[in-house]
Amino acid sequence: MRDVAVVGFAQRQMKEFDGSPTCVELLVPVFRECYEQTGFTRKDIGFWCSGSSDYLAGRSFSFVSAVDAIGALPPVNESHVEMDAAWALYEAWLKIQTGEVDTALVYGFGKASAGVLRRTLALQLDPYTMTPLWPDTVSLAGLQARLGMDEGRWDEAAMASVVARSMADAEDNPDAVRKGARSVEELLSAPMYADPLRKHDCAPVTDGAAAIVLAAGDRAREACERPAWITGLAHHVDPLHLGSRPLTTSPSASRAASAAGVDGVEVTELHAPFSHQELVLRDALRLGPDVRVNPSGGALAANPMFTAGLSRIGEAARRIWQGDADRTLGHATSGPLLQQNLVCTMGATT
């Protein structure tokens, strides 16, 4: 296996992006920031891979328009996934493993505010028995949250403490769109929304774009003083039907964590769009009590569709660049109720 590291990361997150659904205007400065961090130019990038969805944009082939942000003449080596860009990172990592390229720039973008996000996402459900009912994401999460409460896996206070910690941490994150320390008691006094969820249990609808630069071996060392070497990378998927998989545990996240190897991880960034989902993931990844979870504030602070998972990997990599940790983990989810999970572990050494 080739040693591959995360050497660049930039993101833009906002409540409502006043711009086009292709997000070219966001991607250009995001790419520029990546070039500045790494010293690379676009000609140094061997492979480009993005994650986005036309359903979100309401515009066909939006990812093709987004290629304008690269400057694709002469033509570039490019690919796309209709998933969180963390899966584009997986494809890029594989591409580097093949030896065909040494560097890759992975990006994601989405303007969720253009439509009704919780409704649009009904299109990722079973098209025969679910989508025709238009079950929205918040309602599905409410069903999952109550199952866990009834099973005694968590309670309202445990969910509120996830929110309290996330909102307090988000205060230090300039990219957070929701922040502000509040006590568990204050949170529990807020009105119920989608019973048993309060609004603060649900990630905010967020627009944004993010990019990560990957590089192999010496290319990584030349681009970054303390590269975040990828030590494990795996993704797994659970069945789509809600009745055919456990909803209060996450077998796919557990398998991804086992495959990636989570021993010794000090800091982890979990992509949990609902408060109780962090509790599911902490269990599934078997994280010890001393592991720092979501110092960025996590998805409850900002959850841009198709980039929030990629950003978790970027945030976890940043802890290594800064010398705050020697071993970190970034997690991404896609699909309804944590159906698909990706785990990327990184270290200061290979």
Binding site: S20, G71, L133, S139, L143, M192, H241, S244
Partner: protein, 320 residues
Amino acid sequence: MARTLSQPVTVAFDYTRSTGPVVGRFLGGLRDRAVVGARTSTGEVVVPPPEFDPVTHEPTTDFVEVAPSGTVVSWTWTPEPVKGQPFDRPFAWALVQLDGADSPLLHALDVASPHAIETGMRVRVRWAEETVGAITDIACFEPDDDGPPTDAVRGAAPEGEAVTGVVTPVSLDYTYAASPEESSFYSGLAEGRIVGQRCPACGKVYVPPRGACPVDGVPTDEEVELPDRGTVTTFCIVNVPFLGQRIQPPYVSAYVLLDGADIAIQHLIQEVPADEVRMGMRVEAVWRPREEWGTTIENIAHFRPTGEPDADYETYRKHL
């Protein structure tokens, strides 16, 4: 104030899907007002039936009918329904384990408030007035206060005629924004101006402006006003009628390279017989009356020949 122009857009399309034998059996059952599940290799009864066994991956063949009543396994309240959901007023969703099934089914539950539900409550299917072979044949679940649990599977599923296909209409509403660059282009048109942008790196002029130079990947921020005349670089004669066509065929759709631009715009060439349009022909915009102008390219009705001599091939060779 928003820096972009935007307007509501609805994207609507029907998905026509074949069902296959398993989903077809389930939907055929609903049409006949029966809920059909399948027994998997581990002996569990799953509703809706999975197409393949989750353990052996063999095709599902052992269909059983379960009761139209069951128990709420989980529920949530939907205070702000979205378009297309079973109710357009606040309602509940429930995961319901039907009597005889080992896995829950998702559907709406008709109760007046979240205080009228609890986990473990008994509910039954309320069938739609007309059943057609779709999940919406179950209108919703409703409370079933006196229904005692019945553990047994009702037996082998009835051999009704399977459904072979479903049509699922999808309609999505967006607030569609033009990019800031496109917005200035359309705002310019509303004033009778054609606005492009020049790339600071390669100097090429793009119209409509596009936010970033596709060659250099840098923002194109220098605005350039272009004349409303140019050269036909290529064209086609449209002879085929199609849905939504506004002009009687045959007519000419052409690429017009405005003088000073490096990318052509597509428009109509009129006031000349279709068979006289040619590459290199010099054309000018014919604007609609000013009182009809909006933020749209349709302010230009079409282009027409200027009568100038044809442009030299070399002047547009690189723009083909």
